[in-house]
Amino acid sequence: MYATNYHRASSVDEAVKLAGTGDDTKYVSGGQTLIATMKQRLAAPSDLIDLRHVPSMKGISVSGRSVRIGAAATHAEVASSSELRAVCPGLADLAAGIGDPHVRHLGTIGGSIANNDPAADYPAGLLGLGATIVTDRRQIAADDFFTGLFDTALEAGEVITEIRFEAPEKSAYAKFANPASRYAMTGVFVAKTGGGVRVAVTGAGSDGVFRHQGMEQALAGNWSAEAVAGVAVDSSELLSDLHASAEYRANLVRVMAKRAVAAAR
């Protein structure tokens, strides 16, 4: 790892101020991707700003059907929140399946979506839920937030402070994990709300997480696993790599969507 300077922020304001000082500053929260990337010398930020000690970014609260998750909430906290599980078990289950127990104790929801790894689980969850990403300066709809591979709508120095969404009537996430890395080779999050159905796919798109309109329409008319079975999935915009061809992933999208609908509660 190349040398770096470490700063510990105690508030969002302080973090943003610190971000403006170094040549190439990066926020670090759980660091479960960033530190590994720095060890491989694929990232070499001049300055790290630690967000783990900002009290306003912690915690999970539920008021009626409105959910607020602090950006620094760990995957383990999201997975074990009984309040969240009561209104949106789909997202709690998704968090319980990220990485392994040690990763879940450190990794955070804000860090995961800021990184927007095309095989990460949370981007599908938040896009599927139609969540709002709250930053130090604005609110961004999930539909506008995830802009491509490892790319988001975040500006330089902008920090995610919390995630908000209305709990759907039903939701679930189904993933086909790579047997070695446990990352999603394809993961599908489905959510049924009063306003319609959302289906978000991670791990498969060549441009990152995406919504599948065909499945959303099919499920809006008939919420059942059978409704998804006949929907065409275009493989031309899916990833092809040593783990799976685009055609294989296209089939996985359909299979995972069926499993998610069947499991939704």
């Binding site: 790892m1 040398a3 470490y6 479960q32 060890k39 392994d100 127990p101 040690h102 990763v103 104790h105």
Partner: protein
């Protein structure tokens, strides 16, 4: 250079290190606690698992400065008054190790698993709970047997009854 202060196995310790120093290297090289192992060094194998503020983490995935101020338990902190921790005793009893390299991480993971999920673990709980720990010798069967046996031995009231 940065100053890092930790409570390690109940003792407050501090030391200076570079800001890029990983927690596992601080523990091994500065504190001389070499029970925590570096296996893959790519955050996958779990040989470096310790507890930070009571939760299992991979100490090669966090900088020492990030951990400063926290409470750390390493494999050296488990045995009390010369008595092996029930999980350590179970690994010995059930041949839960061969070369022993992954064992510190396996044991620390198992202790956290039993502490957080309770002592009525199923085999499935244990196999899922060990997802972040890799062993190249045992084939895992005896590790799972060890953890289940330890959980049983740690049931509340169990020791009083014996």
């Amino acid at each position: 250079m940065a100053k890092v202060t930790l409570t390690v196995n109940g003792r407050t310790v501090s030391g200076e290190c570079e800001e890029r120093t990983l927690l596992v290297h601080f523990i091994r090289d500065k504190l001389g606690l070499t029970g925590t192992h570096v296996g893959c060094d790519t955050n996958q194998c779990g040989a470096c698992v310790i507890h930070m503020d009571g939760k299992s983490i991979k100490s090669c995935s966090i900088l020492a400065v990030q951990a400063s101020g926290s409470s750390i338990t390493t494999i050296e902190g488990l045995a009390q008054n010369g008595e092996l921790h029930p999980v350590q005793a179970a690994f010995k009893e059930h041949h839960g190790l061969q070369c022993g390299f992954c064992t510190p991480g396996m044991v620390m993971t198992a202790v956290d698993l039993i502490n957080s999920k309770g002592t009525s673990l199923t085999e499935e709980d244990v196999r899922h709970g060990l997802e972040g720990n890799i062993c190249r010798c045992t084939g895992y069967h005896n590790i799972v047997k060890s953890v289940l046996s330890a959980a049983d031995a740690m049931q509340p009231g169990r020791q009083a009854a014996e």
